[in-house]
Symmetry: D2
Subunit: 351 residues, 4 copies
Amino acid sequence: MNFASDNTAGIAPEILAALAAGNDGFVLGYGNDDLTRSVERRIGEIFEREVSVFLVPTGTAANALALAHVSPPWGAVFAHAEAHILTDECGAPEFFGGGLKLVGMPGVGCKVSPGTLAETVAHYEGHAPHQVVPAAFSFAQASEAGTIYRPDEIAALAKLAHAHGMKVHMDGARFANALVRMNASPAAITWKAGVDVLSFGATKGGALAAEAVVFFDKDAAAHMAERRKRAGHLLSKHRFLSLQFDAFLNNDCWVRLARHANAMADRLAAGLAKIGLPPVWPVEANLVFILLPKAVEARLKASGARYYVRQSQSLPAGVAAGPDRCLIRLVASFATTAEEVDAFVALAAKG
Amino acid sequence: MNFASDNTAGIAPEILAALAAGNDGFVLGYGNDDLTRSVERRIGEIFEREVSVFLVPTGTAANALALAHVSPPWGAVFAHAEAHILTDECGAPEFFGGGLKLVGMPGVGCKVSPGTLAETVAHYEGHAPHQVVPAAFSFAQASEAGTIYRPDEIAALAKLAHAHGMKVHMDGARFANALVRMNASPAAITWKAGVDVLSFGATKGGALAAEAVVFFDKDAAAHMAERRKRAGHLLSKHRFLSLQFDAFLNNDCWVRLARHANAMADRLAAGLAKIGLPPVWPVEANLVFILLPKAVEARLKASGARYYVRQSQSLPAGVAAGPDRCLIRLVASFATTAEEVDAFVALAAKG
Amino acid sequence: MNFASDNTAGIAPEILAALAAGNDGFVLGYGNDDLTRSVERRIGEIFEREVSVFLVPTGTAANALALAHVSPPWGAVFAHAEAHILTDECGAPEFFGGGLKLVGMPGVGCKVSPGTLAETVAHYEGHAPHQVVPAAFSFAQASEAGTIYRPDEIAALAKLAHAHGMKVHMDGARFANALVRMNASPAAITWKAGVDVLSFGATKGGALAAEAVVFFDKDAAAHMAERRKRAGHLLSKHRFLSLQFDAFLNNDCWVRLARHANAMADRLAAGLAKIGLPPVWPVEANLVFILLPKAVEARLKASGARYYVRQSQSLPAGVAAGPDRCLIRLVASFATTAEEVDAFVALAAKG
Amino acid sequence: MNFASDNTAGIAPEILAALAAGNDGFVLGYGNDDLTRSVERRIGEIFEREVSVFLVPTGTAANALALAHVSPPWGAVFAHAEAHILTDECGAPEFFGGGLKLVGMPGVGCKVSPGTLAETVAHYEGHAPHQVVPAAFSFAQASEAGTIYRPDEIAALAKLAHAHGMKVHMDGARFANALVRMNASPAAITWKAGVDVLSFGATKGGALAAEAVVFFDKDAAAHMAERRKRAGHLLSKHRFLSLQFDAFLNNDCWVRLARHANAMADRLAAGLAKIGLPPVWPVEANLVFILLPKAVEARLKASGARYYVRQSQSLPAGVAAGPDRCLIRLVASFATTAEEVDAFVALAAKG
């Protein structure tokens, strides 16, 4: 019963097999190989557009490299106050970005509204050169709360960002999970809605360690190769990044894996709701958050269930943890089984 | 006939097998797992000392993180002018180190002598605060020329460095190749000789992407975890880094693989010497450099042989490339076969 | 009627005279002169302790250099959300600090309470290495709202900060204004209360451009000379920084100038209160904030009065700007005259 | 007999008087005043072109801000190995430039030839993304050896730099000294010859602390205001920077002061040559370098003469310091008198 994170799972079988299958022979390093070119083209096809693609081993690297490339050191990057880039990357965007400033914003379900964005950005205008300059809006899709932004929501935010001279970055560590929930194409929820650069995650989805920074405007990617290299994120045996992505994308593997993870989250949410533990936010990706009585929580933990207790300022009005119950996060992955889900629910039901 | 680099090879079978074997089940991410602890202990055993270990995916990351941790932003890091950190990392040490300065030094065979180090460091003393401050001496073992530093050579350099308040960093991307050439223990050529921090490479030796930053003084590693994280080099599915290192070190796999690579380099050097193409530097690791007539070079390339033409200011006196011949680098790896070596020599012999 | 800032005033006569008096002859540059040593000693006497002193031309430089020296790049610096370092320095602390993170906190009158500090810091503990590490607490004395921290308030905050391994930085751009309001010594409101490093301002107090970074622990200042130099803040004709500080400190000039500025602020506050425009925060230094009817504001501006309209989230409960009135900041300086003050009040009274 | 540096002199009388004259009344800070606009226009007139001007207090700041603005963090900045930016700024360009790399080049008299530049740049091409990218060529006018570049020399270097996609930066700490030696206009030796950005120095020429970063292409200066601010180099009482520059430029004051300094250097050189101590490099600005017998040197120092003993790798062929004589640098300034010069020569003559 491990729901601690989608990164506690291993490598999806399709991807592991690809590593083995592509291991033979000699291949030029640093991405100077045919498969890397093919993966880049394939990502372009998926997004229905020529793109610039940079494969890296971690999501933190993808986010920080992307943000540093669209923001000057004196830039402000606006994001939800509980965004991964603010709370879990130990200052990577600030480091890569030469001291850029992340500005946190509130919003229920870890989602930022256009009104909040507009109001926050307004505080960073009209006082040049004493203040950092609005440079980018970054949002996670799916969000850290497991909620998602619909195409029209993205478009409204992106339009606002662009009107203020900002670029739009999507942290897509769980991009697939968001995508498969919507009846929309990859293009529709990214560049067609105004996203300029995407951190396209494969690791949480089933890869060993593979993320892609995708620029929808190739010009904006100039010299990203140097930025990646000097950050130590250009793998010498780069073929193994490409092999991971190739297998991830082939035959809709990524979509299938994400559908499974989401289905397991749905099953978990439904089961828990039935026993009086409804999710605090809509379950729109592979994350389920519930308020759990502490006594139950102790029993679950003792039984070997794994998950994290979290804190959040973005709970819906009237919903709160307290002395008797805590907020817990349950994450499903490609490797989660229905049996585990049902076992967890059954255990929780013994409240 | 691929001698372009040891990173054009794939994953050693033992290591690939380990990835598959360790793939089952859920494991906590970010290195919070038992295997990672075990690998750390194992590295300590190999070096006969308690150490602090940080696994990362690339050698550039290992070097830059290590150097940034032992040098302040106003530090000078002294290294051979043709060291990888100066010529092939696109400024990673400067980036990680907040703008530290790399100072290149001359030396035949990409090796720095104590005299040269002393003379160079002298230029950075006595003019505070107008100059950067001597902070570290960094050297590659094996060097970029495939030469190695003997324990007494290391000790002399390290003693000098320490006397000037500097730390000593060893770039061990090819540490195994150097080690197996000498009748010396890992401890003898590192901390016992004065090395403070080591980039211990596994990638070139046969891993997918795995390097270890090893601090021989645990106190000196304080907060390296944060530095690694904010550089995006803490892998979420960290177990796969540990699995690589575990397999690399188990049953002397790393030693065996390095011996093979070195043996192939020796065979290559011997074969080429026999046909009048002696190595320009002693072949002490898995690299062979020769001066090749350009006509032969063209034929080899046309035949599909792969290697790089290089330039160097550190050739022995009286040895030089010129209009008729060029310096080429041939790298052997765990995957190089005697057949390939012999085929290359045979082809070159048709001069 | 210029109340825009204390930096719209010129140079105090005593200081200007000192520049002229010290201009003759040749003096070694970069602070290698007797007067600089003397100023350093004098500051030590004022603070009743051996100190390390670094003179720089701007307050932003003093703050950013000080913070960068007490925080690693992965450090969090906690300060009031409306602190100058967060809102008016265009990211200087982040730049100097290699990407450190400033964390804003709420508090009425731009003052932070120990409770708020404790609660905020708690969010940055227990999640290593994914989060930045608490490194420093910074507060302005006097604050941006013109309020001051009493010795016991400082001591409580500093004790808390130290208990969490943090250093304490005081932004004393208006240190003199705060000091003269209290019956306390410079030592009592700095290191005796737990302050580790002070930005000791002279510019707003009457200098041309002179601030001192004062370390109360000399060891903590190691290599600050290099940090200052590489930031371009070591003046070649350093004697003129020293001359400014020397004149500022001689014969209690700084105290006298600050008393005057404060007295003018008091007169302004009293006059405005009498006509129904009481200060929104206690007037404890040389700043007066009032809520002014917009009609009056327009008339004042038209009459040539100079000041800034501000926004603040730190107004006392029940006090707010709105559609009809705005928050304005009035700053008195050594150069402010009673006539100007009275003229302004009279004009405002015509409401 | 102080020839230690042009920054051991004080403030030129014209400039000191201007500080006093401009001290009255209130003036908006941070350069938002009429005089600053006027100075900017005046500099444009001098250079016969619309320019963007940023006043800062130090030459190190001017150089580092300029270089950081024309080079990305992965840029290489090529300059003479003994250039001030390499040897005397404690890594300021690297710090401001986010870790850019300075590449030193040889050349007699601290001057770089086009051939040397071409050859050096060639080492930084063709190996992307493993190497830093040629970004700028920087040279000092006058050079650190007191030599100057003629318009055609600048044009040749600039043409080469531009052909490689680089910008051209002139470190004009002694711009006036170079200018008055040639029969050429400020425009002719800067943008008309291909210079993109100039550090235009006034401090060594007679100011207290005032330098101007001058961009000849206004677009290239976008957001330099933020860069300056976050470096702490935007003075609050900015009028005093403008007053210095205004007085420096008015009535050809700067030209007059430079002519005097150069004349004193010439007198010194002539006097020393006559007694068998000819300058090692042509005296083209206000610096004189000679090889002095150590016995004489000891006597001069004992007599109170002040200067620096230097080392240089850029002496003309056949000229060298040695066990018996050392290289000394003598700097004349606006404040140097003929009496001092003659006294020094007379003393030296007693050899």
